[in-house]
Amino acid sequence: MVSALALSPARVGSVINRNVGALRSGPSYWWVLLSGFFEPLLYLFSIGVGVGALVGNLHVSGQTMSYAAFVAPAMLAVSAMSGALAEATFNFFFKFKYVKTYDAMLATPIRPMEIAMGELAWAMLRGSFYTACFLAVMVAMKLTTFWWALAAFPATMLVGLAFGAVGMAITTLIRGWQDFDLVFTGQFAMFLFSGTFSPVQNYPTGVEILIGLTPLYHAVQLIRGLSTGQLSWGLLGNTFYLILMTAAGLLFANRRLTKVLTA
């Protein structure tokens, strides 16, 4: 068997290109693509602005901020996560199990690791389109400045990579669409508790530690730190966690793809 390390960027690119072609061939694809951007925006207006009007200002670690300013970076992290996960779980599974897209790809010189990297890059690109739009809205609403938004953008790309890689790894283990209920429940639980809607310091210490182990917490911390300009050494730890997730997810997905598809 050829080494997974000898990778060709051109072949990875062709995996990405297939997605572009598939998206363009679907009906109303522009609408579907654009509509993904509205989802986090709606949450921002409903919870951030609507419920925020009921909450007033929030005091977090010695700083006073409006509730919308607190929620917005979290919604940005969630948008990076769910954009990447949508591609890496449901769409990936459909191609993996039903349409047999990857079997077809493996009949060409493309290798499993190149499939994994190409699909991950595509998931990240799609997520980044949404986060870039969302950052523009945050700047327009004065929830962050232009330069801090620019600093936060690469962080959202890393978040997309980390969740895309792990999502893909989990999807290679999924047996049928019923199992996705568990994935969505996990995703939604993280969405509710990762310091998104209220500071984690409010939870009992045990719960706070537990949340500290889950990935969305690190994504929210990193993006909130950058977009509000509150830098600390902890952000390096968050970054490291997300890089580790990306690497582990990719390696695992590669192993499973190789085992299932080329056995």
Partner: protein, 270 residues
């Protein structure tokens, strides 16, 4: 004494079973499918509402005083109850309906039996009613544990949820029956379902919205379901007379069923 003899060669078509038997047969089909797939909905149906109450109701609610004299948890619980029914109804009317037309061909199989189009629709709606009703009862038990029930009228909320579910599942089934590509579901969720859930009075009063968006909230069946559930659980008045809210939902249901009948018939004509 007379004995009934059936002429040879004249079978099912001449002696089609009555409507109730036909609808029950369709319902049985859906329940059989659910018996195989129930674990695909169990987490989202029972665990998510609890997590939601803790995160938003208690977590965010800790920063909020009272709304109309009620703590925030008590204020949103009726809304979350109604939006749960709304989402189950719509979820069950999208991929499963289109899949039965396009992928599994279950609809075509049913069409080959004495079932009429309307029996198939009625059986499906009954199935959704059962799902929503059970979900509502479980949710109410959980809410009671969180101390969020304040009126004996709470017993009518599963019925409100059932009506809300019919008023949304019927038109959405009709919409799904006319589709050939599931991309449109993303649009339905993003432009109808999620905005309704977020802005139709579940988390904050619609009076906070700009007039134009308030009108959109009034148009959504969810808002009518939410205010009815809230009135029943907190014992307060509804924004408009009760009969208007109920009539709106009934009208939506009737139109939806009529549209579904047309859409199913059109799809199965060939």
């Amino acid at each position: 004494m007379t004995t009934i003899t059936r002429a040879p060669g004249r079978t099912a078509a001449a002696t089609a079973p009555p409507a109730s038997v036909r609808i029950m047969a369709a319902l049985e089909r859906y329940l059989t499918v659910y018996k195989r797939n129930w674990h695909g909905s169990i987490f989202s149906a029972f665990i998510l509402p609890v997590l939601f109450m803790i995160s938003i109701g208690i977590g965010v609610g800790g920063y909020i005083g009272t709304i109309d004299g009620w703590d925030y948890l008590s204020y949103i619980v009726p809304g979350v109850l109604a939006s749960g029914a709304f989402q189950t109804a719509i979820g069950e009317s999208t991929f499963p309906v289109m899949g039965d037309f396009k992928w599994t061909r279950g609809m075509h199989a049913m069409r080959a039996t004495p079932l009429r189009i309307f029996d198939m629709i009625a059986g499906w709606q009954l199935y959704i009613q059962i799902r929503v009703f059970c979900g509502a009862v479980v949710f109410l038990i959980i809410s009671a544990l969180f101390g969020a029930i304040h009126s004996p009228w709470v017993v009518v909320t599963p019925l409100i949820c059932a009506l809300l579910a019919l008023s949304t599942a019927a038109p959405v089934s009709a919409f799904s029956a006319g589709l050939d590509n599931d991309s449109y579901f993303s649009l339905l969720f993003r432009f109808v379902v999620i905005p309704s859930t977020l802005f139709a009075g579940v988390f904050f009063p619609v009076s906070q919205l700009q007039p134009f968006f308030r009108l959109l909230a009034y148009a959504s069946p969810l808002w009518h379901g939410v205010v009815l559930c809230r009135a029943a659980m907190l014992g307060g008045p509804t924004p408009w007379p009760i009969w208007i809210h109920v009539t709106y939902l009934v009208a939506f249901s009737a139109l939806g069923l009529w549209w579904a009948d047309r859409a199913y018939s059109k799809r199965l004509k060939d």
